[in-house]
Assembly symmetry: C2
Homo-oligomer: 344 residues x 2
């Protein structure tokens, strides 16, 4: 199919450098026990001939595919995945790994079969699991059983034997709630995230802790279930705003839902933030571009994905790097969708 390509083999290089193919292999793979002189000669030949090892042969012979899988939920929300892809790819490429994507539409009754097939068929060595994949016990259970190393980017409790990338969701949510309290709000609505996502629970926990700490009463009527999408945010916010005693501030568990809340407020003729403060979570690309720009929490998603990929590759290569000792830090970003409460 491509006559021009892939012509140069290890034999050509060996001949050109006057060594055996095994020595070329050693040099190319950075193995020890090659005299500096020899190494240079081989490297020269490699460059001159533009030699690129045949990945299929390598895999067949060496049992290493150098492929990492990334299983993700094929949801609407894509800003998060954008960062995950970029972070993971940024690490894989220079490390000589390929990244293979596997979208999954949740809920998926055949998820086990799908993943099993992906793992064997695509011959991945390891798998990155961004949220919410890492939250699903059947997924991590299967991978464990198949003995496929994986790195979960998820706020669940860490397992010391597995790679877990965490961030301090709970603390960030606490800080954001505290901000609203300090601005004088005492009727603060909360829109929960999808119950299957670990992050949802962490964020709710931070909210409750802040209320408690500052002596603000917890009002169940001001807490609504959402599912991380715009529509559920719009609906949940609408319900709260139609209450006889509506909240003066709403904290949504992500920015999509916060955008939905803004939409709901505007439909009701409410000024944001004059009459209603709204804050979100995630700082997606659009959070600063809607009106008013959203107060939110920024997570270092790309960095987390980079770390996940890097630790996974280290593990695959037998370097047992230690996981970062502290969770990644989220950062509260204050913009114009929140304001101090002016008593009526």
């Amino acid at each position: 199919m491509n006559p021009e390509r892939a012509k140069v083999t290890i034999f050509d290089v060996a001949e050109h450098a006057g060594v055996s193919i095994k020595t070329v292999s050693r040099v190319v793979n950075n193995e020890p026990n090659v005299r500096e002189n020899t190494r240079e000669r081989v490297m020269l030949a490699v460059r001159e001939l533009r030699y690129q090892p045949n990945a299929a042969a390598r895999e067949l012979s060496g049992k290493r595919s150098r492929i990492i899988g990334l299983i993700y939920e094929n949801a609407e929300e894509f800003s998060y995945l954008n960062d995950v892809f970029n972070g993971a790819l940024g690490i894989c490429e220079p490390a000589g790994y390929s990244l293979l994507l596997r979208p999954l539409t949740l809920p998926d009754p055949e998820i086990i079969d799908h993943i099993r097939q992906f793992a064997t068929n695509a011959r991945v060595e390891g798998i990155v699991l961004p949220a919410p994949m890492g939250d699903l016990p059947e997924v991590s259970g299967l991978l464990r059983e198949m003995r496929i190393p994986f790195a979960a980017i998820t706020p669940r409790e860490p397992d010391p034997d597995e790679i877990n990338i965490l961030c301090n969701d709970e603390a960030a949510s606490h800080a954001l709630t505290e901000l609203l309290i300090h601005q004088g709000h005492d009727a603060i609505g909360f829109i929960k995230g999808h119950p299957d996502h670990g992050a949802s629970h962490k964020r709710f926990a931070g909210y409750r802790r802040a209320l408690k700490q500052h002596g603000v009463a917890y009002a169940p009527r001001l807490v609504r279930q959402g599912y991380f999408d715009f529509e559920s945010g719009r609906i949940a916010a609408g319900r709260m705003l139609d209450l006889p005693d509506p909240p003066s501030a709403v904290l949504a568990s992500n920015d999509d839902m916060a955008a939905g809340a803004i939409f709901a407020a505007r439909k009701r003729g409410l000024n944001v933030p004059g009459e209603l403060s709204i804050a979100g979570f995630d700082d997606t690309r659009f959070s600063s571009r809607i009106w008013p720009p959203l107060t939110t929490v920024r997570q270092p998603i790309a960095q987390m994905a980079e770390t996940a990929a890097a630790l996974l590759i280290d593990k695959l290569n037998g370097h047992s790097t230690e996981a970062p000792d502290a969770p990644f830090e989220c950062e509260v970003v204050i913009r114009e969708s929140t304001a101090p409460l002016h008593p009526a």
Copy 2:
């Protein structure tokens, strides 16, 4: 590393079915000249043993990697890529192909080297080029020279020997401009897209054609260069709005820039669409969620990517499917960011 996996080889299946490995190979690859009886026996063995062919061995032996590359610009805009990824993956998976991503940050002076390396190193059989990759002559030139089949999703002039997925950008832009003219606007600003994108020129052409057709004077001061990003839209719109005789409507070449225009209008206290109508292009996920929801043009991006991948795979397999005879249809979506002009 994974002792449980990939144990069953073609030999096991052959033995189990009482045939030679070659016959198993024939059955697995759907080759002709196998008696039905034999085929069934082999299939049974395949199922019983859960045989999955080793991709590396296949590739090494057969020269077919069953991998397709996707080279894309690693820009902020991700809604477009989301659809492209999903569309392409949806076709590749069932066809037994893997999709390998290769982000590129433009402009990239070493783009040729990067692509060359990707193509050989990742041993892709073919490549999908979403916009703006298909617009760059050095990219398509290199692939042509390397004899790597590719499918370009781009509005350039089609080459009958190559796979080109088109949509009627020009006509859609014409229709959108016409809509504004019919609403009474006669001072219609236009924010151009990035000059390296073929779509930019098509969209501008549609705008001009509509003006001409309806006898609206073309005013160069109402045309500004943008680069498809929010900021450039904000700035370009700002310049026009600060003119002594500002436009009553602004057409932006994509929704990011339209969002920027809305932002600029709002900063100047202008009501949209009361005092300024704004329309965009693309219908990204956020276009219906900002305030006011954007009038825009929707392209069937996922479908286009599906078609690109499908045609490419057909080509790789020697089935010379014909390209669709007509370009894909864009659709004008009218929302609340545009309104009829009320004379002052």
